[in-house]
């Protein structure tokens, strides 16, 4: 006979209450886990979307004369002395909130003439650009070298160029690795190449037309970043483009708040259930507890027994609750927020939810268990 044998027999005898307690805590845990993991996945998805939406900060040189237009930003390529310098790329990385900066994408803009017609060239860092412009659909290859270029659909049609073709621009040979599927914007008329190549081609060595920055603003205030960049790059105009995500962030924030409230209410309801069930079984067992005290069980032995019983029921409730809650959020989260969210399994969170469930169960049982264990054994044994 060990304390565990007594616990086992007692649970077997009161299996109905044991099942109600387990199922109740299972439901509470699964609801909380579902809400928590759904809102967490949504928050992460919004953070990821900054990459998807692309740059959310643009930096352009301050200037008066406006002549060139790209992506809604007006530029004056002729005034080369007002352009940004290459060093700007490093300087941006030195701001206080530098860890929030995901990508810094340089742009070099200019015109060249090909077959007597003007072509607008955009020098980019392909590695960053292709990541930031996830909406770009490219037919063709990945860029392989410095001489690889990407062309807009309209430009391709106009010039009769196609993927894989080598073309000559100002006496240099370039290879077209891909064609941009129409985006309906200026991009359809442009020719994209590596920014270093563009600087050479356009005689703009060391100069940049503008810079796009993508910052992970779920972790920082974007206005601070904008101000910090303005300080390290005097003479430039730093603008935040944040409207796109604000609305979605609002939904996610509201959902997170709702989840916290519902989660807290569920946890409290779960604890109340445990409190009531444990109180009622302990009331039923008052006499038993008195008998055990009379044969020399310590109060602490009784506490250990009563709390172990609860722990034994809450562990499976927590584990099953995590599995069910996560399955629920994997299924429901994309539907609720109309987002393509993924909710991954997470061992640490599984352990945490088991731990929290057990802790809540034990906390709720503490007072009734103590009351039962402390009851005067003589009084207790008088009970029927």
């Amino acid at each position: 006979m060990t304390l565990w044998d007594i616990i086992g027999s007692s649970l077997k005898r009161r299996w109905r209450k044991a099942i109600i307690l387990t199922v109740g805590l299972f439901l509470a845990t699964s609801i909380s886990v579902a809400l928590f993991s759904a809102s967490k996945a949504m928050r992460e998805e919004v953070a990821d979307s900054f990459d998807l939406i692309g740059a959310n900060i643009s930096i352009i040189p301050t200037q008066e004369e406006l002549s060139l237009n790209y992506g809604g930003i007006s530029l004056a390529p002729s005034q080369k002395d007002t352009l940004l310098q290459d060093e700007a790329l490093q300087k941006i990385r030195t701001i206080a909130n530098a860890e929030s900066i995901a990508r810094v994408a340089p742009k070099v803009l200019g015109h060249i003439t090909s077959d007597g017609q003007p072509v607008t060239v955009v020098g980019v860092s392909f590695a960053d650009e292709l990541k930031m412009k996830k909406w770009w659909k490219i037919t063709g290859d990945q860029p392989r070298g410095g001489a690889d270029i990407l062309i807009g659909e309209n430009l391709a049609a106009e010039k009769g160029w196609h993927t894989g073709q080598s073309i000559d621009l100002n006496g240099k040979t370039f290879r077209i690795f891909g064609q941009l599927v129409p985006t309906g914007s200026d991009e359809d008329n442009l020719l994209f190449m590596d920014w270093k190549q563009a600087q050479d081609l356009l005689q703009m060595q060391g100069k940049l037309s503008f810079i796009e920055v993508s910052a992970l603003c779920s972790t920082c205030p974007i206005d601070d970043i904008t101000a910090q960049i303005g300080t390290v790059l005097p003479g430039s105009q730093v603008t935040a483009l944040k409207e796109t995500l604000v609305a979605r962030e609002g939904i996610v924030d509201r959902f997170t708040t709702l989840s916290l409230v519902v989660g807290a209410v569920t946890a409290i309801a779960g604890m109340l259930l445990v409190f009531l069930l444990v109180s009622s079984t302990i009331r039923e067992r008052t006499k038993e507890l008195g008998i055990l005290r009379s044969i020399g069980f310590r109060k602490s032995h009784l506490m250990q027994m009563l709390l172990s019983e609860v722990a034994l029921l809450t562990i499976p409730a927590g584990a099953a609750g995590y599995l069910a809650g996560l399955s629920l959020s994997r299924w429901a989260a994309p539907i609720i927020v109309q987002m393509d969210v993924t909710v991954p399994w997470n061992g640490k969170e599984a352990l945490l939810s088991v731990g929290i469930t057990v802790l809540l169960g034990l906390t709720a049982s503490l007072v009734p268990a103590w009351r039962g264990a402390s009851k005067d054994p003589v009084e207790a044994m008088r009970m029927l």
């Binding site: 044998d5 007594i6 027999s9 008998i291 055990l292 009379s294 020399g296 069980f297 005067d376």
Partner: protein, 228 residues
Amino acid sequence: MSVLLKTDQISKGYGLGENRVTALQEINLSVLEGSFLALVGPSGSGKSTLLTLLGGLNRPDKGTLWIDDIDVYGLSGEKMADFRREYIGFVFQQFHLMPYLTALENVMLPLAVKKMAVQEQRQRAIALLERVGLAGKEHRLPHQLSGGEQERVAIARAIVNKPPLILADEPTGALDSQMGEQIMELFQELHRDGLTIIMVTHNLDYLRYVSQAAYLKDGRLQKVEEIS
């Protein structure tokens, strides 16, 4: 024979204010090792109260109790539980068995909080059940046993830990006279084996089994009689 138990001026009352009832007044009692003492007296005279006090199941308002030179009421709550486990075996009129444990498990129960191997616990409990005449009924639940049999399980449970002192509160009270006699014979055997027993009884016939009788009235100890 040495003194196993000695009380000094034990008093105990219940309730508050006008409802205050004095259950025991200044009890001085001394019990030698190996005695079989009957506590007799009218209903409400304080017999059960005294028994719970002697077993450290309750604390008095005043007074001291020494058992084996331990100042029992000087012990903290948890130490008092340890004391009960090692020194006292209680037997109650209502048996007070755990309803969902078998006879064998009920007997092993006091050993559950000791670090004794389960195999040894079983051997001891089976031997005791045989001794009280319940061989073959080890795996019955209390409700599958007669009153006399349940009382035997309770007695086996009381002695499984080899305590020096057995405290029994009307162990025959719920049994018919034939069963009562059998239980008294069992106590007599335990007494002969050297156990010290204090037993509350209403039945003066049973005084022939005991070595001493203590008479209580209105919470006072009237006299202690030697019985040959």
